[in-house]
């Protein structure tokens, strides 16, 4: 009888201790990442290995994570925010939530267009918006490559295009449209795409997969996803199309990092940002994720047009900070339904 009673009490005691004592020992650097684990997980693991600084990472969509930090406000456990879009970083900068970075950190980035004007975030890697397409499917459907992202609302593309409406790079692209075309024209384009039966995917990778499988003829993605597929199998039938003539569809954006003002580990946080701008990490972005490195000492790895040669629409990345406005517009358009 005593045995029963003891077992019961030990169990209840252990359970209550467990439930009532969330571990607060926090010497772990908390990173909120709006970039996929498959893209930044390996380099963060390498950072821990090289520096001994433990990292825990929350992964989510960039817009969602930015929103989460804004809502958590003072209480946010995040030390570092890694985003796949300059606009989301701009939104946090506008809210006054980002720590100023040292000049030496900012100076690592070769092109001043890819850092925050106020010096509160730094670009880590560059990416171009492209139209990935399957040449066989294109021919099968008797289609020609679109000259503009705006052409995709044409009837001939009905049901044959993929997009990822919650993806931050797409959101940034829509913000750019709002800046350059205005609200109404942008809303009209979104509505046109939906009316045209655009296929929605959760992220970019599934769009590329669907393009390769012929599920769609093409889709709006960042340039580097295709190269990951090509590295596995050079024979796949999919290729990139850069919208010509400075079209809205060929936006160049950055993935970047920032330190939160609320951090309790500013030095570890800075160590991580500096690490991500080191030659070794930039080499990783060039070699493993097929992005454009942003420091002058590292070259892109794959056969891509030079960043400077891509004709892009003219404007400042920090103009893309009205994240909420774009998210509302996309939601109102019914793209998420």
């Amino acid at each position: 009888m005593f045995k029963h009673r003891n077992v019961y009490f030990v169990l209840v005691f252990a359970l209550s201790c467990f439930m009532l004592s969330p571990v607060l020992a926090d010497d772990v650097l908390t990173v909120y990442s709006g970039r996929n684990e498959s893209l930044v997980g390996p380099i963060l693991a390498q950072f821990t290995e090289d520096t001994g600084i433990e990292v825990e990472v929350l992964y989510g969509g960039t817009s969602a994570v930015a929103n989460q930090i804004l809502t958590e406000g003072e209480n946010s456990p995040a030390d570092v925010f890694i985003a796949q879009d300059g606009g989301a970083l701009g939104a946090l900068a506008d809210a006054g939530m980002l720590h100023k970075l040292p000049d030496a950190t900012i100076a690592r980035v070769a092109n001043a267009a890819f850092v925050s004007p106020a010096g509160v975030w730094a670009g880590l890697s560059g990416r171009a918006r492209v139209f990935v397409y399957n040449p066989e499917a294109l021919e099968e459907q008797g289609l020609e490559l679109p000259n503009s992202i705006l052409d995709l609302t044409g009837e001939e593309w009905s049901g044959l295009v993929g997009w990822a409406p919650t993806n931050a790079s797409f959101v940034a692209n829509v913000t750019a449209m709002r800046v350059l075309l205005g609200e109404e024209a942008t809303a009209g384009w979104l509505a046109g795409m939906i009316a045209n039966g655009v296929n929605a995917y959760p992220k970019n990778t599934p769009i590329v997969q669907a393009t390769i499988d012929g599920e769609v003829v093409g889709g709006l993605v960042n340039h580097y996803y295709l190269f990951r597929f090509l590295a596995e199998d050079p024979d796949i039938t999919a290729t990139l199309h850069f919208f010509p003539g400075g079209d809205l569809g060929s936006l160049i954006n950055v993935a970047g990092a920032a330190i939160l003002k609320t951090t309790d580990q500013p030095y570890d946080a800075l160590a991580l940002v500096d690490y991500l701008l080191s030659d070794a990490a930039q080499e990783y972005f060039a070699q493993s994720t097929y992005e454009y490195p942003l420091v002058s000492t590292v070259e892109p790895s794959v056969d891509l047009p030079a960043l400077a040669d891509i004709e892009t629409p003219e404007f400042d990345l920090s103009d893309l900070a009205d994240l909420q406005g774009t998210l509302e517009l996309i939601e109102e358009s019914g793209a998420l339904d």
Partner: protein, 544 residues
Amino acid sequence: MHLSDVIPSRFRINGHQQYALSRWHVGHRQLVQIISLAVVAVVMIPLAYLIIGAVSAGQEGVDYLLRARTLRIVGNSIGLTAVATLCATAIAIPFAWLTSRSDLPGRRFWLVLGLAAMVIPSYLTAVTYAEAFGPKGILQSLLEPFGVDRLPGIKGFPGAALTLTVVTFPYIVLPVRAALLHCDRSLEEAGQSLGLNRWGVFRQIILPQMRPALSTGMLMTALYCLSDFGAVAVMHFNAFTRAIFIQTESFRMDKASVLAILLVGITLVLLLIQSRLQLRGRHYRIGTGASRHLETLPLGKWKIPALIFCAGVVFIGVVIPLLVLFSWLAGHRITDPVQAPLTLLMRNTVGVSAVSALAVTFAAFPLALLAARGGGRFNRWLIHLAYAGNVLPGIVIALALVMFASQHFLSFYQTLPLLIIGYAIRYLPFSIGATESALAQINPRFDEAARSLGLSAWAALMRITVPLARGGILAGLALVFLNVMKELPTTLILRPIGFRTFATRIWSAYDEAFLSSIALPGLVLILVSAFALAIILRREKAVD
């Protein structure tokens, strides 16, 4: 029932002693009530925060509620629930009848394989269907020789309805089959002797007897459909849970709360309708009579179609998902750079499920005790409130707990205990139900006899009541374990940073189209779930 109620006061030998005993007893009863009250207080947190969240949305919230798009979400959810429930019923009734009352060859075999569909989590079934029936999927490649080079795909309503039909029909098969096995054969014979043919017997005698079981099963199915996240998320069908998830993930809590309140309201209405329907009619035997052994009905020329039907159900429900998973396991696609060792996933998943199941069982016991032995209006209310998990879908609980922790209890934010509380609120009803039904079968006199022989109330509970109710308690434990292991939305929203389970791993791999990374966690999850379900079903058989 108290000793003091039974013994008239004039027979009491020592009034003082009697008073002490009675107070002791009352003390225990109050202890049980206090613990129950504490549990119910925790259960009420989500509802309270939802209301706060929705109210703080104010006029904006009202506008959001009345938008055409919100109303469309209502329509989507109700439509999906209705269609999936009806389809599941249409499959479940013949399936239950064939596997219980007919001379179908291999009845047990078909039954077990058919029920196995409930072991596969909805998101996993949906992911495999999206692949198999996609525009360029397996079905299309089979149809290729007939000149079909592209299928429309099943994303949206058809995919969501198909997935939910398949994963929920076992919830109707189980109660209906139990009812069919307990049907009173003599009633059927009476019907036949009065000139009914076989169809007439089925329609006029068997069906009415099945009705309570059928309505219970359909209710469970409808509740499942309303609260399911995986199928609608994968199929991109904008039902409530998906819309709430999108808002919650981006921390737009006021909009999410408004949607959540609406969903909870619809669920309550459904429960209300069902409880009204349930009250009508009696289907039990009035006289004692002789319950006759059930005979199996020969199928005759219907044997082949019946076999095809059962094989088809099993093929779609179980074979296709497994086939697709195995093809991913074997096929070579893009390599996933994310390292998530299977042993780590196993440890996390089984660990968190076991701790949650234990926590739920302990929390449920005092409530089950009140339900079985308590009586009284206060106790009844406590128990009703404890069942809140039935009307709070996982995503809704997660949303409310995130608001609760991030605003007021920051030290719980993104911790394992908060996740476990989330699971506990959701699955408390399962454990209370199972424990209560076991307790209800134990004569309280055993307990009283033990007390009169000198055991304390506590000792009597631990040495008499708990061992007798062990089967039911364990069944509840296994049921909670099984459900926590498969749970997706609560886990996604409430998990601590970096905490991965099979479910979150499958979800993130699907999200990034690393299909080959889904296969192994998916297959292991199915295997472990099948094991847990086998334990539950065995117990049910033992009760039969």
